[in-house]
Symmetry: C2
Subunit: 245 residues, 2 copies
DNA sequence: CGATGACTTGACTTCGCTCAAAGACAGTGG
DNA sequence: CCACTGTCTTTGAGCGAAGTCAAGTCATCG
């Protein structure tokens, strides 16, 4: 995929090679997530990776199916969820560019992963990846840091869904989306997923999400235009709501 | 630490060397958690580990303090929690023998870890551990499997606290405790932690936990003797409650 | 542009939380 | 060894917020 002569920004160029992003586990003061891999390490992974594209709403893999590949997100948003006997479909995480997923347990995938938008992925055969990780133990340490970071995210998520107030949960979620875009706060937050997905992530009914949206509007903290854009009006109150656990 | 001539069972002998236990990530059909390390790998870790003992209720480390060590549990139970501005103290996990903890983020511990019973730990300096992991990439892969396993546990926990019914949450928790003891189901489940700890883990008020206990008794599914022992009477209904998400 | 599914709104129910108080347990010192 | 005291736990009453059900509105895709 040659780039032609048009101007491209850094993230466009960068998604030609796989990267992962997380907070490294030593390195005090690393508040923000950083890219963990050197150019050489990225090439080592690229050598075993295939680039694949998955359309919106398509499923990447189902829980309980044999796991032969691990993935890195190049572009787009996905959701990780589980189908429960009760019919509930809790969303455990959303995945964005430079996230890693597909790490199996006992040879099978544990969750189902579905594209929320059109996505572009790097797909690595599990065995080939293991070989690379054994050969380059430093690269493996970065992977370890990434998985530890995911563990922290999962714990944050648990804390989030344990909160009582629906508006607080929603505010925290919006903040998460905002943080994921990186760079400065522009006030505008894109919400790529459906209300139902948000509800399943927050552990609320869709009606409760809807009411929380209305509540944030009425108290003039956030406005919503259409169903996929939010705009923060009152950052102080927004942050207080989001972090005021 | 020579063993003397008295009879010792396997787990007693085993806690002389650090081990970790998890479901490996390939190896189809590995339903149960297995010990991941070879004798040699255990010795490599032991070479950099110090054995420490922590009394009941003592704190191993506080969140936001500089992280210089990683730990493996040799014996006892601990809880992992966070102190939130609101005064809530959600428990994110309980730790048992052969669990790994203390993996930091940006050089600081993320959570607080406190002993629930008297515990015995292996303490490894972070830098020394990293050196070992770089030197032995296969050992590192086992560590990676362990962290992935913890990630799965965290996700299960999220699903757990999203359930509505308090009795269902309690049943699932009891099942978790039972599973952790390993071996066959004897019907008897030891509950080492306080009701408040259970409440903080399940995202309930202590009152709600108490009522759930009463409810399980009244419906003759589980009986409780004292505060730290449960006995399952009706396994079919118990399992249905616990897994019927 | 029309149909299908996603989302919102309203009315009612339910279940866990809060507050308050009584009861059980564990550790301490006499 | 036992009584005492502080803490943990249980129980009750009332409230509130999210769930459920039902119906109407909007947006999105063919």
């Amino acid at each position: 995929m040659p780039s032609g002569k048009e101007r491209r920004n850094i993230s466009e160029i960068d998604d030609q090679l796989p990267t992962i992003r997380a907070i490294p586990f030593s390195d005090a003061g690393a508040v923000r997530r950083a890219r963990l891999l050197s150019h050489k390490q990225r090439e080592a992974i690229a050598a075993i990776a295939v680039r694949i594209h998955v359309r919106k709403h398509r499923i990447v893999y189902h829980e309980h199916t044999p796991a032969d590949s691990v993935f890195i997100v190049a572009r787009g948003t996905l959701k990780v969820f589980r189908n429960l006997p009760s019919g509930r479909r809790p969303v455990l995480a959303f995945l964005f560019a430079e996230d890693l997923f597909g790490l199996s347990e006992a040879g099978a995938y544990v969750n189902t992963v579905q594209a929320v938008t059109d996505v572009s992925l790097f797909r690595m055969p599990l065995q080939a990846l293991k070989d690379v990780l054994v050969r380059d133990a430093h690269l493996q340490l970065e992977m370890l840091a990434k998985v530890i970071h995911e563990l922290r995210e999962a714990q944050r998520h648990t804390i989030l869904v344990e909160r009582r107030a629906a508006t607080g949960r929603l505010a925290t979620f919006l903040r998460l989306l905002e943080a994921h875009r990186g760079r400065e706060r522009s006030g505008t937050i894109a919400i790529p997923m459906s209300r139902l997905d948000v509800a399943d992530y927050l552990g609320l009914s869709p009606e409760a999400v809807s009411r929380a949206v209305r509540s944030l509007q009425q108290s003039k903290i956030v406005t919503f235009s259409g169903r996929h854009t939010a705009r923060v009006i009152d950052y102080p109150r927004f942050d207080r709501l989001a972090t005021g656990f």
